[in-house]
Symmetry: C2
Subunit: 292 residues, 2 copies
């Protein structure tokens, strides 16, 4: 693949990506493109993913987790959030002082709590690059992912400053805007701004599949509106179910609110209350001034 | 504006568009581009819209409804569906036998019933081009709208065959795929595939506005997923509230189903039932095979 070594005060690293999919693959493509990585090792549960990732130029070789950790300068973990916790502990148990690790998970509190008292906690940075698509696997990885999106770092103060600087420099080079939060705040905001969108999209797909028995009609009539609201329902259950489960209190809180809001629309229709319906919709319109 | 007179067996018409907005404006641009119209009259409630539409080359002049009907060969109505009914009756009352009219409304049953016994019913074609964006007004009109989308014609048998052929030819030239339904079937399918997406998006915007008091955080963190699910919440309440109200039985039916589906997600989280959560999400994933 095309390489571009831009000038930055960074020694190219030997990088291991744990998980060989959309996020880790896109991240690895970016690392290589900007000269942060001179060798990328992939750790995957399946030989098929590893092989695909080698073919796509995302990784140079596949290894077991243990061998990859021993060989790498920097380890980047992007696997389902329930698997992240034991994997991160395995990595930290094996980590030597010059090495470091970051994760890309969509929940942060459970992970941060799980590693909080680990003697190598200071060599770990908890990050959440808020980018994704509904596709998964190494073939979904793209160059120029992440650009223009936010990346949250949690508990920055618990990570050594050299590795915080490194990951900030990497994400910023990839075009991300850094945001700092504590882990509980991250999980709450992520529930409001990302997780509920996924829940509603999954539920909307099931709604339409339940009501619209003529699947040809969905195919024929579906316009841009349907596609955009239901797009996230194509997302990976293996990736998203653990996110909802790990962040269940926040997700339940916003899901209850969402059901309440839908009930207001229902009441307007049942009572034929056009004025209140318009009021609800005009209020929703104010989202215009907030979105970019 | 650029004109392109392609060869088709069609005498260029004097066209009146009633409503000067996203749909009618895009339609008029298409009519002119493909040589279907040599003169476009706009009918708008506001002088500002008419003036903007003249400036944008969408219409040549503005007139009152009555004057426009008297002057036009073909009248195209794209205004809120509650206003469409009395407007259509006014038009039909005034229509001479060589003239004809079509509408573009997102609901069809109430309109078709309202004009059913009108002596000029046969000069009207009930259509629903299933295209739109979250924007409104003449400045939202775009050339090359409609392409690749479905257009439903209802009660085709109640319209004279010459005008059915004409509107089919126009929509097909604009790139639409024609679909034929009776009006109640249209409204039911539209509720499932379009109207519920808009309700959920409006409700999701209100959910997030209610929970996320830090609006800067929405701005900072909102990624592609949030934007795509909440995009439709920017849609015009004046256009959409009457659609929901006129199609309330179908919309309530699918809205109840949607609340039921959301409750299943809620139950999974409350009971920490990962297996059922995965089952729901895997089922939602099957929408992949239906969407284009």
């Amino acid at each position: 693949m095309e390489e571009q070594f831009i000038s930055h005060p960074f020694q190219p690293m030997k990088v291991a990506i744990v998980g060989v999919g959309l996020i880790s693959g896109s991240f690895a493509l970016g690392l290589r493109y900007y000269g942060f990585a001179n060798h990328v090792i992939g750790v995957s549960r399946t030989a098929a993913s590893s092989q695909k990732a080698v073919e796509l130029g995302i990784i140079d070789e596949a290894m077991t987790l243990e061998a990859a950790v021993d060989a790498a300068d920097f380890i980047y973990v992007a696997i389902p959030v329930d698997a992240t916790i034991p994997t991160m502990i395995t990595i930290l148990n094996r980590l030597k002082p010059h090495q470091w690790v970051a994760d890309a998970g969509s929940t942060k509190q459970a992970l941060c709590e799980a590693v909080d008292s680990h003697p190598m906690r200071h060599r770990f940075v908890a990050t959440h690059p808020m980018w994704g698509t509904e596709y998964s696997g190494p073939e979904a990885a793209v160059k120029n992912a992440f650009r223009g999106r936010a990346c949250v770092i949690c508990e920055k103060e618990k990570s050594d400053s050299d590795i915080v600087s490194s990951i900030e420099h990497i994400y910023q080079t990839l075009g991300m805007n850094m945001i700092y939060m504590d882990a509980p705040a991250h999980d709450m905001h992520a529930a409001y701004i990302s997780h509920i969108s996924h829940i509603t999209s999954f539920a909307l797909a099931n709604t339409v599949l339940e009501k619209e028995k003529e699947e040809d009609t969905i195919f024929d009539l579906a316009g841009g509106g349907f596609e955009s609201t239901v797009r996230l329902a194509k997302s990976s259950p293996a990736m998203w179910a653990p996110i909802f489960m790990q962040n269940r209190e926040n997700v339940l809180d916003v899901l209850n609110e969402h059901i309440t809001q839908l009930r207001k629309f229902k009441a307007c229709l049942e009572k034929e209350n056009l004025d209140y319906l318009l009021e609800l919709m005009n209020h929703a319109n104010t989202i215009k001034r907030i979105l970019k």
